[in-house]
Structures are given as structure tokens and as C-alpha cells.
Symmetry: C2
Subunit: 225 residues, 2 copies
């Protein structure tokens, strides 16, 4: 259950969502120049709303702007991703620790069901990447919700972490990590069920660290080629 983005609102809101989606999925390449007139044309709106959308995205750090030179899609280099995963480890570790005391039994049960669905999906399709990706995000977001910390939820769910989704799309083609990841997810849920915050935090930190190492290796291979 990702934060629901209603399909309506002002034109600027719509443009903002569509652009965010295009950036995150890689439809718009990293570093690509964003031409206002062209995008406005494509979305069927004036340049005004589109400029507002770009400003919003700038605040979200999905685009970078230079005065009088326009906006470009942000570029995720190795260092940026490394920094991001370090921050994730701290934030989501904390989320787990707090969630262990704050989540209701019903919440935890929902988490289990979510993982069941993931498992079924993996077995059926061998990991249709898109769904698997959003599913993993769901898991992490649900735990953030469990912490009852709105700021954490904002950071993970809607804003800053879009960068993460962006990275996922690039790196999730090899689905070899999905099964061990699911296993780790289950361990985390069990720790939460036992109300063991420290263990849950440790498992989550290890899980994220492992994910980073996997991505890092993949980038090494890509660079070698």
C-alpha cells in the first residue's frame, strides 16, 4: 500500500506525478535535459503548471535546476547511492526498533500476508520485476508505518526515497536476490512478532547492507564491461 496518489488535482500536480513516475522508471534518462515547452506540449498544458511541477520536483531532489539553463534529471552515481543506503540503514533500522513496540498484532499479520503474496508471485512468474520491486517497497513502507513516525513515513514513502525507487528500476533486472530477500523479510517479521526491537533492527540493517553490496557488485560488473 504505497501512499495513494489520486489521479486528480491541479495540472501542476498531475505533471509532477507523471514526471516523477517517468524519472523513477528510467523512461527519462539520468541527466537528461527537461525541455519545458516540449513537456508542456506532451502533457497538454501550458508552461506555467509545468514549471511549478519542476520546482516541486526540485524540492524533492528528483531534478536539479540551474538558473537560465533549465532542469535536468538527477544523476545517481555510485557515491550518491552509497550515501543513500547508509541513510536507509539508519532510518529503517530505527523504524524496525520502534515498530516492534508500536505495531498491533493485526498489523504484523498483514505483513505476513503481504509476504505470502510476494512468495506466490515469485513462484508463479519467477519475479516479474516491476511487481516484485513495488512489493519490496511495500514491505519497507509498511514497517515505516508501523513506527507511527509520520516524518519517517514521509521520507520513505513519498519524497526523498523516490531516488531509491529510481535505483531499483535500474538494478532489479537480475532477480537472483529476490528469494534470499524474502527470507530476510520473514525473519524481520518474526522478530517484530516477538516484540524484539533490537533483533528486528539488526536484521533490517543487515538486509539493507546486503542489498547495497549486491547492487554495488552489479555496478562493478557493468563498469568492467
Amino acid at each position: 500500500m504505497l501512499p495513494y496518489t489520486p489521479e486528480q488535482g491541479t495540472l501542476a500536480d498531475i505533471a509532477s506525478r507523471r514526471l516523477a513516475q517517468s524519472i523513477v522508471t528510467g523512461e527519462l534518462a539520468q541527466g537528461q535535459k527537461l525541455n519545458e515547452a516540449e513537456l508542456a506540449e506532451r502533457f497538454g498544458m501550458g508552461r506555467g503548471p509545468l514549471r511549478e511541477a519542476l520546482r516541486h520536483l526540485e524540492g524533492m531532489r528528483l531534478v536539479t535546476r540551474v538558473p537560465n539553463a533549465g532542469a535536468r534529471v538527477v544523476v545517481l552515481d555510485r557515491k550518491t547511492l552509497s550515501d543513500l543506503y547508509a541513510v536507509r540503514e539508519a532510518l529503517e533500522g530505527m523504524a524496525c526498533r520502534i515498530a516492534a513496540t508500536q505495531m498491533t498484532d493485526a498489523d504484523i499479520d498483514q505483513l505476513r500476508k503481504l509476504l505470502d503474496r510476494h512468495e506466490a508471485q515469485i513462484k508463479k512468474e519467477g519475479g516479474k520485476v516491476y511487481a516484485q520491486n513495488e512489493g519490496d517497497l511495500d514491505f519497507h513502507y509498511q514497517i515505516a508505518r508501523g513506527s507511527r513516525n509520520q516524518m519517517l513515513m514521509d521520507m520513505l514513502g513519498s519524497e526523498q526515497y523516490q531516488l531509491l525507487r529510481m535505483c531499483r528500476y535500474r538494478t532489479s533486472r537480475n532477480a537472483e536476490r529476490t528469494l534470499p530477500a524474502l527470507q530476510q523479510h520473514r525473519q524481520i517479521v518474526e522478530a517484530l512478532a516477538q516484540r524484539d526491537g533490537e533483533l528486528a533492527e539488526m536484521l533490517m540493517r543487515r538486509h539493507i547492507n546486503g542489498a547495497w553490496r549486491s547492487i554495488s557488485e552489479m555496478m562493478d560488473k557493468e563498469e568492467a564491461a
Copy 2:
């Protein structure tokens, strides 16, 4: 050394900075309605750039917008601040742990000098609130820099954490906590100097936790009145 914001740029950039400043200092009250035409008039610009600035601030979470009903200054209630301080504890704790291995001796020396200046200022003026405030922010930001994690620096220095500055302005009138805080800062620096990341993290977490308790108490008193 807060991130330097040049006094130039597009009108939207200027409006964004001026608004952020006004919001953070409390010149614009929490929850206050932001009238586009009025603000545009005051800043001597059209409504276009001003709307872009509002969008940017929305991305920064300093204002909240409702379609067709305008923008309002964000309201920092007790829960929001509590969440914010929990996140701070995790992030700045991490910053300390990493900074202990990443900062150069020169960096640490600069940190000592910064604290010397703070001490002198406190003794001289009994804590001119504004300077003291920004000074404390400097300290925390320098440590984030020491972690060499750009994402962390962004989060602390320029964006999300503006909420924190906002809160500080409201709560820093009673300067009774400045001296113990300085003492804690010194302890943290010495832990960094000894390259003891774990200790530095622990001290920082305790420091932030103490700050939150102090603010929380103050809010209790205010509510009682």
C-alpha cells in the same frame, strides 16, 4: 558555515529564500494562510514566480497546499516534533559514527575552534539567542560534513531540517540549556578526536534526546498556562 545561499538567482529563488526565512523565524505564524497576490506585491514580483516558490517550499515541507484553497505555513505540533527528534537521533548518531573515521585532524581542530567561539559568545552576551541558535546548527552541520555523506548533509543542512530551525526559534528563548549543551558538544568532539565512533554516536544520541526532553518540558509549561 551553513550552506551559503547566494543573494541572486531567479525571482522564484529569491521568493523561496525569503519565505523560508520568514517561516523559520516565525515571522509568518504556523498555519497562516499565504496569499499569493499579497506576497507577490510585497516582494515586488508577479504571481508566477511566487507560485513556483510555493511549490518548492511544498517539496521542502515548509508549506502545505490544498488544491484550490491555497498554501499555509506548516504547523509543528508535539507529535511532529517528537518524530523529528527521533529521526535526528538516528541520522546524527550515524553521522557521528562515520565522522569519527572520516574527519581529518584539521576538521576536528576547526570544530574545537567553533566551540571556543561559542563559549566566548555565551560568556559575553549571556547567549544572544539568534547567534547561539545558528551556532549550534553549525556544530551539527559540521559533523554531518565530517561524515562525507552528501545525502546526510542535504537532509540536515538545507531541506527537511528547516523544520528544526523553525522549532528552535520558538523554543530557544530560555537559554538555560546552552551551557550544558556546550559541554556535551565538547565531549562529542573529544570522542571524535579519539576516533571512537561508538562513543561519539552514543553521546550525540544522548545530546539530542536531552534537547528533546527539554523542549518537551517547555511545551508542557506553555500548555499549562
